[in-house]
Every structure is written in C-alpha cells, then in structure tokens.
Amino acid sequence: MPDFNPLQEQESIVSVTDRVVPVAIGAGVTAVHFLGDKAAFVGVEEKVTLVDPAGATSPVEVAFGGILCSTSDGKRIVMGCDDGKVVVLDREGAVSTFATDAKRRWIDSVALHPDGAVAWSAGKTAFVQAPKGEVKSFEVPSTVGGLAFAPKGLRLAIAHYNGVTLWFPNMAGNAEVLEWAGSHLGVTFSPDNKFLVTAMHEPALHGWRLVDGKHMRMTGYPARVRSISWSAGGKGLATSGADTVIIWPFASKDGPMGKEPAMLAPLKAKVTMVACHPKQDILAAGYSDGTILMVRITDGAEILIRANKGQPVSALAWNAKGTLLAFADQDGDAGLLEL
C-alpha cells in the first residue's frame, strides 16, 4: 500500500512532462530559434545544435569563440561573436560570415528586418546592411545596449545610456532621440508599431508612445528584465524578472499607462524566460529553478512542461506555427514538446 498523501502538490497541476522529447546539448545554451521544424540551440560558444522533432541532433560549428547574441526570422539565424564576426546559419545548415568588425570588437547585439536587412553593433556603433545595399553605420553617445527594427519601413531603434535613438538608415539628416535617464539594455517595437519599450539596467521597463513620445514607466520588478515577448497580436508584453509572469496590457491606444499588469503563474522562483505562442493566448515561462510552465493568458491556467530540476531556464521558443516548443537550461539540458 502506498502512503496516503492528500497534499501532494504536483498532482494538482496538469503535466505533459512525459511528452517532452529530451535533448542533451552538452554545453550551455543562450537561445533557441526554429529554422523550419528544426530547433536550433545556440551554444554559449562555437556551436549551434540543430534538433529535429524526433530529437536527433546535428551540431554545426559556427564560431571559434563565444556567441554573444542571436536572432532569427525562421529562415536564418544571425549571430554576433566575440571575435568581431557576424555569422549567419541558414536552413540548410550552411554557415557564412556576414560581416567582420574592423577592430575585432565584440558584436554585442544583432537584429533582423522582415525584408532581410541585418543590423549589428560593436561598441558605440550600430551597423545596417540591407539586401543588395551597402553597410551603413551610426554612432550613438555610449555603448549600444540593444537593437530592434521597426515592423514597417527601414527604421532601427538603438538603445543606449539615457535613451534610444531611432535611425532611418536610408535617410539623411538627424536621427530622433527618445530620452530617459539610465541604461537601456534591450529594445522592442510593439507589433503594431505604436510603442517602443526598453528593458533597463535597473529592474524596470521604459516605454514611449511613438506618436507623441509619451512616457510609460513599468516598474516594480525585483530583478532585471532579461526576457520579453509580445503576445499574439501584440495585445500584451510578457516579461521575466519577477516570481510571476508579468504581462503589460498594450491593446488600447494608451498602452499600459495607468493600468496594472497581469501577474500569472506565481512560483517560489524567478521567471527567467518567457515566450508567447505565435497565434493563441498562451505563453511558456521558464524559471530560475528549472521549471517550465505553459500558461493560458486569459485565465492563468497552468500546464507543467518541466519539473523544478536543474539549472535556470535560458532558452525558450515556439516554432512559427505554434506546434512545437523548444527549451534549454544554462547547462544545456534541453527538450522539445510537440502539441
């Protein structure tokens, strides 16, 4: 007879942990992207590991040293490396060097435009190269903290100390500067192009309504926000940085101004990664204790994907159709879930 234990907490939550295909990457993972139906786990250095839905792995050498940042549009992955190279990995697994910094500085951030333009930064300089275009550069007053392309037109947001510079690489004249004191380390446009949001060095987000530059302060986090993800249709911005998933409402024309965020999926651990489902009001959240939950945004219902074991979750992504979820932790303990 097993012991009678009516208080076993694990049983109160629906679990799909047994449906996860485990994957061992064997080294730290900083991000995961989907190239078609293959998950591409970006290692801390040297390798990207491609994994098919059945869990078969094929590592690809992409760099000699550290891979500092990466982004993807589903067709290719662009990576910034610590030897000054911007490297591209395509769907066929082919690796090419897109650009090399003349001084071999760290490539701190990268961004991809839907039309194929690539942006990267080294030190205080942001670079853009459109397909068939030449490399253009723009220097901001301090080191670039993050880059993001606007959803429409060739416009690049460059986050830095004390604000964000909005640069039209194809237009002469001065760039627009959105000022806010402090160090801005990440930046994102809302999918409807109405808002710009930065993740700051202090535990806070800052936002601007682009039409009039109106400020939005999103504060109250216990830790720095390192992962942000727009929910389907851009209705909300889900973020890490607290012991619940924080979702700021962006559906109205005022964005989150004067509104409270939704707080979902509280645990006794910090949220380290968030990834919203591309089509439905669902998100995946990874925690510092290794837990991964799938959360319905409308009512907060939770499904357990990975139990609280292992290292903090460091990578989380859905494929474009929303049928596959890939995750990994800091030690490279990874998995795939087909829905």
Partner: protein, 350 residues
C-alpha cells in the same frame, strides 16, 4: 571563505597612473606558470602587447544609477562584458580588469555591489594599484586620479624603486601612508611581486576582515605583521603608528580615520548612525571597514563599504579570551573627521 563566495569568479582590479607599470605587472601575472586562465578586460584594446587568449576591450563608461544617489556610479561597459563572460563559465578561472590611468576605481568596485547578476557570479577580490616610485609624489600633487587610486587600494605595488634614492623612497612611502595606511604595500622593480600578494586577496570578503590595523610595515621587509589578538593589551592606534622611521605627512584632500571602543555597541543605535552617515557623507567616504562587537551578540559583526554602498554580516563567534572591541576605519576625500568622531561618541553606550 564561504562556499558561495568560493564559487564566484574572483575579479582583480588593476589600476595605476600612466606609465607606472600596470602592463608589466599584467604580463607577469599572465606569463607566470600558475596553471590558471584569466580573462583580461583592458581599455587600450589592441594597442599594448598583452599575451592572453581572452582579452576584451572596454570603454570605461561610467553610468549613474537611477536610485537617487549621485555617488552611486557603475561601469556600464563592465556590466555588459561580465554578462557575456559569465555565460562561458569554466573557460577561465579569474578576471583582471585593467583601468586607464585616469580612471576612478569607485565605479568599477560599485559595479560588483549594485548589479545583481554580476554579484551572483563574480566577486571583487581586490583593488591593486601600481604606483611609480619616481613620479608618484608629483602625481599626488597634480593628479586627483592618482590620489583616488592610492586611497582606494587594497594592495599597492610601489614600482621602480630602483630608480629612486632611499630618502626619495621614504618620502613617497610616507605620502602613500598619509592617504592610505591600511593597504598592503610592496616595493618592486619591474613589478616583480609575488602573485599571491596581488591575487586571491579576498579584500572585499567579509569573512576575511580579520584585523584592521595600519600597515606601516611593508610586506617585502621580511617581517610579516603578526598580530596576536589573544592577548588583551594590543594598542596600536594608527596615530602612533608612524614610529617605523616614516615621516608623517598630512594630505590636504585624502584622509583616513580610525575609531575604536571596547564598550559593546548597541546595534539599534549604531546601525542607524552608520547608515545615516553613509547616506549623507558617502560621497566623501571612499572605503570603510569595521569589526563590531554588539551587546547581546556573541558574534563578531563585520561590514565594509564603497561610498554609500554598505554590506555587513555576522562573521563568527568571538573566541574565548579574544578582546571584544569595535574598530572602524574610513578613507575619504575631505573626510568630515570631527562629525564622524562626534557621531560615534554619541552611539557608544555610557
């Protein structure tokens, strides 16, 4: 050292005025056969010959924190670089941050206290200042940065002593001591110092704040400083300490101050005083340290601070026979000495 501390990557900050011999010392550290791998963060990237696999160029960007405290500055570039480095754990054993000759060490040190992610993975080991025996006296007169670097140091490598006469050396040493009587001082030629004297110092480790005594004897004199705290008659006030053949200088800008009492302090009145002092005068106080004996507490309480940033903890139980006394030291610019002394007097229970 606690286990949590031991697992963190030690970071040595290497500072010093231009031409003092920082690069010489750095290359010595890197070339010595110690079996350790270092990540080196430098400023003049690619312009000086440093032979190491992992060299990162920094920009010395000093950022103010948005917390209403003007002296609370951090090195923004360092936050970013450490972030990138920390993901590659296992690839190196320690980090050395070399600053330019004009840099203020405070933002570098404060980066390790303010930034939670940096704090989770790295620990500041010590600020090592390389000084030029021939030119330091002049620099202390005309370069405030040089003075800052001496005041801030845990370890001072007084280099190029072969280029000065004995009286000149005594003079420069006395000038250093007028600013910072607490740092370990090593006199060297061509930066020939034992690596154990500059690395793994644990100068910011609360567990290693064992004693707070002026360091008038430099370590290369051969006789180590053995303080036996087990006997109760240890009177070594720094005011009396210049009996080792050093002239006493008074520096116009930088001062140090030590306080002591053998009366057990009341934590409920002492701590608010200390916090208030740091909040109001922290801009002037570069470094502070203390070992405290609180009434009703059998543990030694230790604290240390950089400007307004204070951290403190219970260290260990007082040993049998160990003299229970409280000692505090402050090093600062235009230190409000009387204000600190008066404030301290008021919180000593009568």
């Amino acid at each position: 050292m606690s286990e949590a501390t031991a697992n963190k990557i030690p970071v040595t900050v290497l500072t010093g005025y231009l031409g003092a011999g920082k690069t010489t010392l750095l290359n010595r550290i890197l070339s010595e056969n110690h079996g350790k791998k270092y990540a080196v963060i430098v400023n003049e990237f690619g312009e000086i010959g440093i032979d190491n696999d992992l060299i990162i160029g920094a920009d010395e960007e000093v950022f103010e924190m948005n917390n209403g405290c003007v002296c609370c500055t951090v090195r923004g570039d360092l936050v970013r670089i450490l972030d990138g480095l920390m993901k590659r754990k296992g690839k190196f054993d320690a980090i050395i941050v070399e600053t330019t000759g004009l840099a203020d060490p405070a933002p570098v040190a404060q980066t390790f206290f303010v930034d939670e992610d940096v704090q989770a993975h790295a620990r500041l080991d010590a600020v090592v200042t390389v000084a030029d025996a021939k030119w330091l006296s002049d620099r202390l007169k005309d370069a405030p940065e040089a003075k800052n670097q001496i005041a801030f140091a845990d370890v001072i490598v007084l280099n190029k002593v072969d280029l000065v006469s004995k009286p000149e050396l005594a003079e420069v040493e006395a000038r250093i001591r007028a600013i910072n009587p607490y740092a370990k001082l090593h006199k060297t030629e061509r930066a020939q110092v034992k690596l154990s004297d500059v690395l793994e110092r644990g100068a910011f480790d609360l567990d290693r704040i064992l004693e707070i005594e002026p360091e008038f004897l430099s370590a290369d004199d051969g006789h180590e400083h053995h303080h036996d705290h087990d006997h109760g008659q240890h009177h070594h006030d720094h005011d009396h300490g210049h009996g080792h053949g050093l002239k006493h200088y008074h520096d116009e800008d930088m001062q140090s101050l030590s306080l002591r009492t053998d009366k057990a302090l009341d934590a409920s009145s002492f701590m608010p005083w200390l916090q208030d002092l740091m909040a109001k005068e922290g801009g002037k106080i570069l470094r502070s340290k203390g070992i405290l004996s609180f009434s009703g507490d059998d543990d030694r309480y230790v604290f240390q601070g950089v400007h307004m940033m204070l951290e403190g903890d219970h260290q260990r139980p007082w040993k049998d026979g160990e003299k229970r006394e409280s000692r505090l030291v402050f090093i600062g610019r235009d230190l409000p000495e009387q204000l600190i002394r008066d404030g301290f007097e008021k919180v000593i229970p009568s």
